[in-house]
Symmetry: D3
Subunit: 234 residues, 6 copies
């Protein structure tokens, strides 16, 4: 985990990241149906630590199973490395919770960067008020056992229709969650930040009445003006 | 309607209630696609008083019909007992409103505990600001007659994919709405409140750094600590 | 664009408008799956100026295309008449953005009355904070090129499952967006405002304890009382 | 049940019936997601006899309940009048069966005109081979108790998104199932048969190379030719 | 329209075509939810001639409108060039018919290569028995006016979620319909036919017990064997 | 793999198996959206051998990858044990193929009992004509790489919304596919066959005019008659 990359990604929007990934041929990088639970003080940023669920079976998935410290859901929470984002594959099923306040709190206390699920979360009002950024399909009260059997930790999964490999960089803001392949994270953080800096300049011009042609995307003259402005700032 | 049960359920979360019902073999108790309209000062709690809709037919479902005091939608609002929750079966169709501000106001003035629909509601901003808790599939402007024909009052219905029998205890919070079968309401209110009390204790431990194993679910030692803490409080 | 009509529609709810249109035989006038992004200071009101998208094709829809001032998305933003509402047909696909902060800002600077899309919008937090009312299927980060090819400007389109002809009057509030056919706008604005005035009176009665029968809809006596109250006010 | 009407409707297509109903202002008359199970020797025709289901609850809906002759599903089959069509409201849920071979056989032996469900059917291969026309959402093995609680017999229901009142005339062919309101059945049978007779003539003309303009819909000359042809046949 | 290309595409599967297009970077070329109505004697092949629908509006879309020879649906059928495939954009809505037997017959008599719609078709049994290949979302009885307003002829459209530009080569078989961009049709017909010829050889080997490794995809030895076999055939 | 169990399950319907599993508390055992491709000479029966897919990523999932004998899709086909059923988790996505004719043929040649996928299959006409029973979400031409990355072999998966553990007994007929947990297969095969034998007797009675009460479910007298009939047959 590159600290500079994490710092840069804290202020690059998911919109910018999808554009950067699109330019590199990656079109399916944004989780569908996954949104923030509560407001966000800053971007969610961190490498993915994953949990995979399959459908529950009544004879296997019983409340008693949680007492086993090897239960994958509990074990995953207990082992997610600090600074990582726990990403849960719920097959996009919003009908039940994938976790609740106590597990989310344990994750936060252990230093996780955040929690992302394409299923629901219970105790949503409490979790929304926590400092740790959390994304899911929405509030849902029923316990995970109604639909889910936690089966694997830190394997490649699907979440929100996107492939998530352990270690991929997860970034979330008010628009939602983007998965940046691990090997592209450093490069995209730098170029994404540069794109945003220029777009802030372009936005100012647009606010001042500039037309789209010539400004967005910028033509030679606008690029030169941006370069001059940027030089003047430093 | 047991006043103690109502009082207890005012402070038990729907998450806890689904767990209690799961332990009793009931897995399909949480309304899907039904969420609060506006913030909630406290839980919605009350026995169900139901209204059933079928699809509208253009020659039957005309605006003139509302002048008939026997129109089931209007009659249901006018007859819902105080303290009860009006629950409307809209076949989960979010495209039109099942009621609006005037009907919701009449319900509130008559002392209803709340309103739950698996269809939309119009005048959503006004209703969201009312003191009475209201849950629905979301805001939707079109009048009910575009899709619905109100046909029956206080019969068993479907709402949000859950069976609702008249008199079942309806409980709603920020996560959504749970249907507690009438014969289980008293028992579950007591056990749910007990579960929540213990989980508040466990959450404190987790916040202080306790690990999940041993704490959630609690082992013997944690249970003993909880018993001691509880004894110390009284 | 009739200024009186626009002024009236600023204070008529979409709920009322759907009822007025229903009485004239128009049942499919409310956009499904389209909701406000952020709070609304007042109703969105203005004639429709449309943009049509078809699915993207990888060899055609490339980032370089935006440099062409004839690119329909950019051209539409640059040409939407002041006071008009830009309405974008995204085939109801919420997976990607149909626009972002810079385009929305340009629209606002040029005097557009608002923006409506049945697709997503990126930079949603920034757009939600803008003064111009904006409606869409929700936040979505990916750029439009992942799914959309902008192809036509100001032709009849579908948006949220409703036909939108250029010049139709678009009205949006917290419940969502209604399309009023151009030739009905003046008439419906007047009758809608009258309906709302009377319903405000009826609501007061309901708040004071009046029963639905006789009040909503009003019988002769209530209508007379309303007429008297109205006369007394002027 | 008018025998002439039934006889006419045996040879009028559901396409023609929806046109006749559209001309009378009825637009939502065709069941969505309901299709024939197996080939059809002739149209399904008969008045509706309905069964309503709500979601199952584990403590109520147990296999033992079928032994009770008052169980609504079994009672409905045992009481459906000869010549009637049993129509089952499954809330459009295709996940489980609403009946199987034994119940369908009992219906057939008792003289029912057919069976229509907007849920699934089990033993689908056997039922498809029966002489009685059957329509459903498709094959599905699980027993009804997994999702359904049969609750009411011969009340107004929804089926395939359409209102079905007991006694409405149900007509099904390869395209699907249309619900003809009871009071319109006689009139529409006559006019539908007349429309079909003329369209058979028009189709012959089209097959011979006639252009659409003038033929479909027919102009004065074509109407006259049809009248002459028809006169010549009698 | 290149006759050799059409002849080649008559015997290349849509599976092969999607692979050829994938190799050229085109991933969204297969219509979703569109399937053959009846058996196919041979592939559907021909350039696209398009019709665009938007949602119906009750005051505009009336049965009387069909008498106007300029009605776009009727005009499109009357003007589709021989050898072309009429492709109808119904916004993927399966609820109503986009055409019926008479229009399909007129298309066939005029020499159209086929008909593709992402909406329904009425008179499905008759159309399924016609010689012309027809693809749609499935049978549906209601007339188009319930949901559709035909608005444009031969403009770029969406069909089954794929962009269709007039002149694109449409190919359909039992798997469904592929859209081949016009400029790639000749090249892909040749390479697709070559791929199929080799895969027929590989399939024989697999049927004889060859392992996947080395055979599918073929290694050097298998490619040499194929070349020898092919040389031996000519 | 118990040969007697396999033989029994060849003639027990999936309807009967879901009832047997329901009686044992298992309610979610039937794959949704998975149906036979082509007719079935006999039931599909065999233990599950699984393949798991996650969403594709453009830089990883390229055609060249198939040349690697370790590619999980190819490796799974090459290693599925004789008599087993290959079950593929496609996250229920019908948009692309999970396999085609060559892979299905290789599976058949190697002695697999069948193929089940909750995704599509290409070359569907050819596969439908094969002797091996195959089930999927339907025909779909695009190659798997458009949406899928094969990642794991013989791990627990989801298929059609049901948990499938390697070794679970898979049974398919015209109604669809049931997953019988491995430890219940022998017992359920015996009891299911017994249930079917009795139901065949009950069906004969119903065909002869017996009423449902007393026959289905059978009362004491009917059970005695069945016992006598059965004794008489042996």
């Amino acid at each position: 985990m590159n600290a500079t990359t994490v710092a840069l990604l804290k202020r690059v929007s998911t919109a910018t990241l999808t554009t950067q990934l699109f330019k590199r041929g990656l079109r399916n990088v944004f989780m569908q149906g996954v949104r923030p639970l509560g407001g966000l003080a800053e971007n969610l940023v961190g490498p993915a630590y994953t949990l995979r669920n399959i459908p529950a079976r009544e004879d296997i998935d019983r409340v008693e199973g949680f007492a086993n410290p090897e239960h994958p859901q509990r074990k995953a929470v207990e082992n997610a490395p600090a600074g990582h984002v726990m990403v849960i594959d719920c097959r996009g099923d919003p009908r039940v919770a994938s976790a609740g306040e106590i597990l989310a709190t344990r994750l936060m206390v252990r230093g996780a960067a955040g929690l992302v699920s394409d299923g629901g979360l219970r105790d949503s009002a409490s979790i929304a008020a926590m400092a740790m950024p959390v994304f899911c399909s929405g509030p849902s009260a029923p316990l995970n056992l109604v639909q889910h059997h936690a089966v694997d930790i830190n394997v490649p999964i699907a979440c929100g229709g996107v492939a998530v490999y352990p270690g991929d960089m997860i970034v979330g803001d008010a628009d939602g969650v983007v998965v940046v392949p691990a090997h592209l994270a450093d490069e995209i953080a730098v170029e994404g930040a540069a794109q945003e800096e220029m777009e802030a300049f372009l936005l100012t011009r647009i606010q001042q009445g500039a037309t789209l042609p010539g400004t967005y995307p910028p033509n030679e003259a606008t690029r030169a003006a941006y370069a001059a402005w940027k030089a003047g700032r430093s």
